[in-house]
């Protein structure tokens, strides 16, 4: 029988060490996957994801209504409802109008139960918001030109990455135009996305005239037989008249190449923004007739209710919602799910 010492050869030690190493690695991997496994499962259906994102509730306001509602609409019930609506960033005017309507319906005897109270509000909101989710205006003859604008930090570039993915999935040939030549490294950011998604890009130098970059991109889109051209623009605060004029210029330059362009002007709004979003929509649409909204960052706790007054006052519909940072995190806007989420 060999002594123990005989096993302690150099080779055996290395082998034992390796085995231990492998074992530990497996353990770590297992532990990590366990930890990862606690994460919520991936949801693929966009409607489901929207519901999920909006379902992040902020506590028992609805419970408050349940408790206070005893077949009667009184100050207390109105107060709770008001709080829900205001907390969703719907704004004072729209909230007042909704609640006035509710009171009138109650006086007419149309509302007798707590469920009817909520149904009334939901139905009205859904009616206001519906109809345009996911529908983009496409050019009869390609390329379709989509201009994307918004204030600083609202999520323009990420939203463009998502739209690019959305079109690429449909087999469309996409060209990106990096017109944000102002912010440091903004062009690089879009370029990284173009690389990752495998689409073409026209880029300008830092500080170059954004309209000239747009000019080049339109030319390339026509010559290269692209289906969709998405133009990224620099973030700008809507009260900066000069920058708003620059935006008009970008749109004008595009028209020279593609007369009916831009086919879509998408305004990206940060869902966490409050009533200032209305001013943004107003100013941007005054400069370049916004055709639709991409509501970004809706995966937080913000409810994005300011889109209600925007739709009411300016008639601009929400077309897509952003639900995360990955290119797949884009869902067509769905009024039903959105409104349900507001009351969750």
């Amino acid at each position: 029988m060999k002594t123990l010492e005989a096993y302690l050869t150099r080779d055996n030690l290395i082998a034992a060490g390796l085995a231990l190493f492998v074992l530990l690695t497996l353990l770590i991997l297992f532990w990590r996957s366990r930890r990862g496994g606690e994460k919520e499962p991936e949801i693929l259906d966009p409607r489901e994801r929207l519901r999920h994102a909006l379902g992040k509730t902020r506590g028992g306001l609805l419970d408050a209504i349940r408790k206070t509602f005893r077949g009667k609409i009184d100050e207390e019930v109105i107060g709770s409802l008001e709080e829900i609506l205001l907390a969703a960033d719907i704004g004072v005017a729209t909230t007042d109008a909704l609640l006035e309507g509710l009171k009138a319906a109650y006086r007419k005897g149309e509302i007798q139960s707590q469920a009817q109270v909520l149904d009334y509000l939901k139905a009205h909101l859904k009616e206001k918001l519906g109809g345009a989710g996911g529908k983009l205006n496409m050019a009869e003859k390609p390329p379709t030109v989509i201009l994307v604008c918004g204030v600083n930090g609202c999520g323009k570039t990420t939203s463009i990455a998502k739209l690019t993915y959305y079109f690429a999935q449909q087999g469309k040939k996409v060209l990106l135009c990096a017109s944000d030549t102002f912010r440091a490294a903004a062009v690089d950011q879009l370029n990284t996305w173009a690389d990752r998604l495998g689409v073409a890009i026209t880029r300008g130098q830092q500080g170059a005239d954004p309209a000239s970059v747009a000019h080049d991109a339109h030319e390339k889109a026509l010559k290269g037989g692209f289906d969709v051209l998405i133009v990224d623009t620099a973030g700008r605060l809507h009260n900066d008249k000069n920058l708003m004029r620059e935006l008009e210029k970008i749109a004008r330059v595009g028209k020279k190449h593609v007369p009916d362009s831009p086919h879509e002007v998408l305004l990206v709004l940060d869902a966490t923004t409050g009533q200032n979003a209305i001013r943004q929509a107003e100013a941007f649409t005054e400069a370049i007739q916004v055709t639709g909204i991409v509501l970004a960052k809706l995966d937080g706790t913000a409810k994005g209710g300011m889109i209600v007054p925007i739709r009411e006052e300016l008639g601009i519909p929400v077309k897509f919602v952003g639900l995360g940072e990955r290119p797949t995190d884009l869902a067509p806007f769905d009024a039903d799910t959105f409104v349900e989420g507001m009351f969750s």
Binding site: I28, L86, V151, N152, G153, G155, Q189, L237, A302, K303
Partner: protein, 500 residues
Amino acid sequence: MFDSLSDSFQGAFDRLFSGGKLTAQNIDEGLREVRKALLEADVSVSVVKEFIANVKESAVGQLQVEGVDPSQQIVKIVSDELVRLMGPIDTRIKINNERPTVIMMVGLQGSGKTTTTGKLAKYLVEKKKKKPLLVAADLQRPAAIEQLHVLGESLGVPVYSEQPGEKKKGLTGLFSRQTRAAEVCRNGIKHAENSGRNVVILDTAGRLHIDDELMKELEDVKKLTKPDNIFLVCDAMTGQDAVHSAKQFNDRMAIDGVILTKLDGDTRGGAALSIKAVTGKTIKFIGTGEKLDRLEEFHPERMASRILGMGDIVTLVEKAQEVVSQKEAEKSATRLISGKWNFEDFLGQLQAVKKMGPLKQLLGMIPGMGSMLKQVEFTGDELKPVEAIINSMTRKERRNPELLSGRTGGSRRRRIARGSGTTVQEVNLIVKQFKAMKRMMGELGRVGDLGSLMTPGGIENALPQLPGGKALLRARSRGPKPKRNKNKNKRKNKRKRARR
């Protein structure tokens, strides 16, 4: 036009005191307006509730004080409460004497962290004589590292970064439980120690506060680097969600202060109230523009007076002091008063004003101007033609403005108009206004009462004599703010026009 908190407040107070007397009933009515104004300014519902309750309590308690104008009283109560909620002033940055001071920047995506990091670095270099190092710890967003490098380069401040993909090799890499971001930060601090930098600013990745995984990464960074200051960067345009995100960040990171960004937009501080109320942490700085020098110390009483539409002379004077030295100011004042003021002085002052910031922002700080500015559209180019006209004058003309007046100056004015690409009318106007200004300043100088400008009505009386002042007044006399539906019609018309 937008309804800022100050406008709404003014509306509320106008209505509240139209009857002259303060009763329990019109306190309630007035406070309803105040409540609405706060909500429209995006102050959180719960904070508004508390605010109104406090104001009401103070107002009712103080009603017995006789001989004090009740309207002044309630304005003071509301303003005091705003200042109390947003104060105290505290722009300190904790300095570590043993090792480089570490400042960690956190915030939601798109709140302006990276730009603010650059601004803070500039502030530390110029105002605090520090030697900062920037660390690119945002490994999530594409090109965030490049962005910081570009900023660092333009500031002449070094930037530490590592390739995002680079993983530690071998056993240490496998067993390391720290996230990459935390490692980069730790290495950055080491780098600062070795290269003699005394402040390190960590630019972390933006995230949604509910994202647990990314929140953990931030906690890792905190654990490993033990920052002396954690600043939450927050978008001033944030709505009701401001309380939630600020609370989350504060609960998990124990932040030391807040930096409020994008205040150059037309939003008005609603988030400031909410964040301060819910975290109890001071607002240290505010960002007022994309350029890197647009970082200002936060002063609650200035913010409150801005909110209440009472102007902000202090900031205006401070801004002026930054671009004009005391000596220069004295020199030009003497020339003004002695009647020796000429177009060269005027040009110098124009350029100083340009350096101070956008005209609209500056004018908005003058008491009483806020409501006038609503009617005027500012492009930021208002001063350009004036400058062009003065630049097209010969040196002789600039030094002797009389050459341009009267009949004899006609051909000179025509030449200047051609040279500056303006019209003779515009040149005439500038010459006329220049003379009026000179006369007015001379008079003011004789009376020795520049202070009268700052009294109520003082601005209105002086305005017609200032360049562009008449236009402002005309715009103002057009009457009350246009109603929203009027705007709508205008928009419709525009659309119609476009269709044609």
